[in-house]
């Protein structure tokens, strides 16, 4: 077979689309490069203690541990809370509901996945924080728990639709075989379909986690905004801080070039690495499932 040349013809169409491709690839590349380059100054001045330090006073010392802790805690909390509901409704929708109902549910979930984060934030600050405060007898309802709960609600539609897709990807013959062997429908689902869809289900959860970890505005309004690790560390009903919220709160005052700006970008880099790990794992698992 003839080896095709890399670019067969170079008319105006080639250059025009090539320019667009160069712009998009260049922008993305530049974004990643500057994320790394701009965070160099703070790593130079703080060293690795940027990652382990527990104190953050703008202009003096930058330690990101409370924010990293907050991000992990809130995201972990969200996934624990969303898991039973998302998987339960995904299994029900994919295996037990009729085709028409299924389409309606999917459409509703896609709509809900598009609800702007600021609306969750408004709900969080005006309602959820107050409920949490009264229900648990706290002085301040803006806690890590509140943020985790809000995120769980936010990612429910995303995780549910992706998990449902993963279950649908298991071929129908598998189900027929299991049923013909005398398994009940539920046994078929639990012992045959779910194990086969497991990578896809895990992928759905990872992608949801990535979204939860990067969400800024809703969390910012209900997390409390205090840069410390609660005492004891597992006290979820204390105010905390996560990375996006920290960036969101300080970016307006730090706009510019000094060390604080670099520290915020370095926080962004840490966040990006964590989110990227989750989503890459998610995409990998989803692809494996197909």
């Amino acid at each position: 077979m003839n080896k095709q040349p890399l670019f067969p013809e170079r008319g105006p169409a080639f250059w025009l689309t090539g320019l667009a491709a160069a712009i998009s690839a260049g922008t993305i590349g530049l974004l990643f490069v500057s994320l790394v380059v701009e965070s160099v100054p703070v790593f130079k001045s703080e060293g690795v203690s940027f990652l382990w330090g527990t104190d953050w006073f703008a202009g003096e010392v930058y330690g990101a541990l409370p924010m990293i802790y907050g991000s992990l805690m809130v995201t972990g909390l969200a996934v624990v809370m969303v898991l039973p509901f998302a998987l339960g409704s995904a299994i029900l929708t994919s295996e037990f509901l009729s085709g028409r109902v299924r389409l309606v549910v999917k459409a509703a979930m896609e709509l809900l996945a598009g609800v702007p984060g600021i609306l969750y934030g408004l709900m969080g600050i005006a309602l959820l924080a107050v409920w949490v405060r009264d229900l648990f007898g706290l002085i301040d309802g803006n806690t890590l728990f509140t943020a985790g709960l809000l995120l769980a609600v936010m990612i429910l539609p995303t995780v549910m639709t992706l998990a449902e897709d993963a279950l649908r990807a298991v071929p129908g013959e598998t189900r027929d075989t299991a049923l013909s062997l005398g398994l009940t429908r539920m046994e078929t689902v639990m012992q045959v379909v779910v194990p086969q869809a497991l990578p896809g289900l895990a992928g759905a959860v990872f992608l949801g986690l990535g979204r939860a970890m990067g969400e800024t505005i809703a969390v910012m309004l209900v997390i409390g905004g205090i840069d410390r690790i609660p005492q004891p560390w597992f006290d979820l009903f204390a105010s905390g801080q996560n990375i996006p919220s920290k960036i969101g709160r300080e970016a307006a005052e730090a706009l510019g070039f000094d060390l604080q700006w670099s520290a915020l970008i370095a926080l962004g880099l840490v966040l990006f690495v964590m989110v990227m790990t989750l989503t890459t794992a998610g995409h990998f698992l989803l692809r494996k499932a197909r």
Binding site: I23, L111, A126, I247, L255, I265
Partner: protein, 283 residues
């Protein structure tokens, strides 16, 4: 009675319970926004500018600001997304390069939106010298919605049947003519749905623009390139933090309802177009 049957029924019941809880929460969210937002809506609210730090007047310029930012972002993004998809599908024949391009787009989709604000301000605000302005916001949002448009258009182009292309090639069309006569008309719906979803994403975004493109009060239409706008998203953000002032809070819910309606319309139209396409494919 058969214990297996009981187990079966119990599990299905649990599934219905879990699903019901999930649906209930989401239904509560929607009704809350509607119930709390509806009392604020009126002609005055929609068509007057906000006064007294948002607790009086309306949200006219906030709506305009949101529309400017999302429309601007889509206008900037669409040609770039379309061009890079076409380059990727029509001219790029090396699998590793294609793979790398896909990876870049996917990783851009994973970037938390607040990072677009940080880095975007650095480039558009500082280097382009646009400062905190609507131009900075448009450009940042354009980068942010690039993956949404790109993926949607790419899927549409990829799903064009091979014999359409072959027919074009058999007629001796050059790649440019092929694009104009075959690929663009056949993938039009991908462009439309991608743009609508991108618009919805841009309209719902707050974090990336709150410190790069917007101001809270005293802003009307931007008169120059370097002026900030005010948007529904950031308006809600500021009002929400005044949770003690019931009037401001009512206005926040009202603005929220308007924003939600806008986003839902955009997504619904997308879903409607898509389901139409699917039915056509099944015929």
């Amino acid at each position: 009675m058969n214990p297996r049957l009981w187990k079966e029924r119990a599990t299905i019941l649990i599934l219905y319970g879990l699903t019901g809880c999930g649906c209930l929460v989401l239904a509560v969210i929607l009704t809350t926004v509607i119930m709390k937002g509806a009392p604020a809506l009126s002609g005055e609210f929609l068509f007057e500018e906000s006064r007294n730090f948002g607790s009086e007047g309306g949200i006219f310029y906030q709506m305009i600001g949101t529309l400017i930012l999302m429309a601007g972002a889509a206008i900037v993004c669409l040609p770039v997304a379309l061009g890079s998809v076409l380059f990727q599908t029509e001219f790029l024949h090396s699998p590793p390069l294609k793979k790398m391009f896909r990876f870049l787009i996917y990783s851009l989709n994973a970037v938390p939106t607040i990072i677009f604000g940080l880095i975007g301000y650095l480039f558009f605000g500082v280097l382009l010298d646009a400062g905190v302005s609507w131009v900075t916001g448009v450009l940042i949002l354009a980068v942010m919605i690039l993956p949404t448009l790109h993926v949607s258009i790419h899927e549409a182009v990829e799903s064009i049947p091979d014999h359409y292309r072959e027919a074009g090639l058999a007629l001796g069309l050059s790649p440019g003519q092929q694009m104009r006569a075959v690929i663009l008309p056949q993938s039009m719906y991908g462009m439309v749905t991608g743009t609508l979803l991108g618009l919805a994403r841009a309209a719902g975004e707050t974090a990336a623009i709150m410190f790069t493109a917007t101001a809270f009060s005293g802003v009307q239409l931007p008169q120059s390139w370097t002026e900030p706008v005010t948007t529904l998203q950031t308006h809600i953000l500021v009002l929400a933090q005044e949770a003690t002032n019931p009037k401001a809070l009512t206005h926040a819910w009202g603005a929220g309802l308007v924003l939600l309606t806008l986003v839902f319309i955009l997504i619904s139209v997308t879903l409607w177009i898509r389901s139409g396409m699917e039915m056509e494919a099944e015929r």
